[in-house]
Amino acid sequence: MVALLKSGVSKIGGTVLEVTPAIGRLTLYIVSSISWFFRPPFRRKLFFEQMVFMGNKSLFIVILTSSFSGMVFAYQIYLGFTAFSVDSFVGPIVAIAMCKELAPVLTGLVVAGRCGAAMAAQIGTMKVTEQVDALECMGVNSIQYLAVPRIFATTVTMPMLCGIFMLVANFGSWVIGVKVLGIDGVMYFAKLSDFMNLSMILEGLIKAGVFGFIISIIGTYQGFAVKGGAEGVGKGTNMAVVWGMIMVLISDFFLTAILAKVL
């Protein structure tokens, strides 16, 4: 019994000893990234290149995801609401859910899968092939050169992608609701304007910006943390996607609680 207790305490202690420095390293990394953002040289070209990669090249996946999400959500709501003859509420229900929750979260998951993984893989590969060392040897700060443009670009681009997600999802909902299922078009928009307000859209956009920051911090951090060769890069990429997605979902809860009081 005593041995079992000792083993349990030892395991908990081991985990604490492992996790605490990791949290410390991540915190220092976040502080360092933010501080390097404000220090020259400001590399606008790199920032715009990353915006193109994060935004423009994610656009197709976001449009595809949002259109089908809007359509399926509208269809499901319609199936439930039509039994009570309140199918005109399909529009506002879809719009509120999309703007406040689904658009930022689903955009976050898509970007974590696509861009978070890419950031970890790119920086991780540069790390194992000594390209990061080469930057440092030349006197270029690798966090400023590699991480800051990615973090800034993702934080700025995510709300834009989220806005597009909201628009396309609601268009998909309108197509299914009004054009396919026969909901009255005038009622659809009347209810939409009754229940929707700007703060709901703002809530979604703020969340998207925060998710973008979190995803890029995790993606770049995992890239710099890569050790070994190809296996290390694979592991870092995997960690970036998994933790990026988990942190989007966890932070969504806290952001919802905070923004409900602020907005």
Binding site: P41, T125, M126, T129, E130, Q131, D133, A134, E136, C137, M138, G139, V140, N141
Partner: protein, 247 residues
């Protein structure tokens, strides 16, 4: 003879493992010095101290008269522009063309116009013998020997006072090894800042004997011998004798 680099009682430990143990050693200015030693002897750790990437656990590292332990992070970064570094596997930026790799330090640290940068880059690439068909290719599209040339041209881009080479001939065929050796010696003699000091980390005894002025032998975290090439060949140190015989 003045010293370009001075290590005074340099000790570096990682946890409980001591890699450099109160090491005393000077690199003479304007000479090619090769640091030889077994794997794990601390050669790369020593190189990273020269660049100020590692900070000594105790002791002092002076480069070009400047004590690196007195510099803050920003000053260290600026100071590193005095160095040119050639990596074991070249470490070229794989997303950039060979031209952009060489132009990179100039774009980062000088106010030269793009026209001036283009002239300087083409001149450097010609100096290291890079054929013109390779100029605008990606590093992945050229051979290992060509990549070495690009790496050397990049190292020379800021006209460094000290060139550092991390195992420059590891994994290369004998002909390319000779080519790299010739490049190192010709670069040493034709650098913009003369006299240029070159420090090479190597396992390759034959190449070391061919191109070095001085050889430092690193063992158990200390420089056990620091001799001219001729003295090194005659050394009676049993470890060096064995090293020479096995090579």
């Amino acid at each position: 003879m003045s010293n370009a680099i001075e290590f005074n009682h340099l000790t570096k430990t990682f946890g409980e493992h001591t890699v450099l143990n109160s090491l005393d050693f000077n690199v003479h200015e304007g000479k090619i010095t090769t640091i030889l030693g077994f794997s794990g002897a601390g050669k790369s750790t020593l190189l990273k101290h020269i660049l100020g990437i590692y900070h000594p656990t105790s002791g002092q590292v002076k480069v070009l008269g400047q004590d690196l332990t007195e510099l803050n992070e920003g000053e260290l970064r600026e100071f590193r522009t005095n160095f040119g570094m050639v990596f074991q596997y070249s470490a070229l930026f794989d997303s950039m063309t060979n031209f952009d790799n060489v132009a990179f330090p100039m774009r980062e640290f000088t106010k030269k116009s793009e026209k001036q940068i283009k002239e300087d880059v083409l001149s450097l690439m010609a100096q290291v013998g890079l054929e013109d068909h390779a100029w605008y290719k990606l590093p992945s599209e050229i051979s290992g020997g060509m990549r070495k040339r690009v790496g050397l041209a990049r190292g020379l881009a800021l006209s460094p006072k000290v060139m550092l080479y991390d195992e420059p001939t590891t994994g290369l065929d004998p002909i390319t090894t000779h080519m790299v050796d010739d490049l190192i010696t010709s670069t040493h003699k034709s650098g913009a800042h003369l006299p240029m000091t070159s420090v090479i980390i190597s396992h390759d005894v034959a190449a070391t004997l061919r191109i070095s002025d001085y050889i430092a032998f690193l063992e158990l975290g200390q420089v056990v011998e620091h001799l001219s090439v001729e003295e090194f060949k005659r050394s009676t140190n049993p470890t060096i004798r064995r090293f020479l015989e096995l090579s």
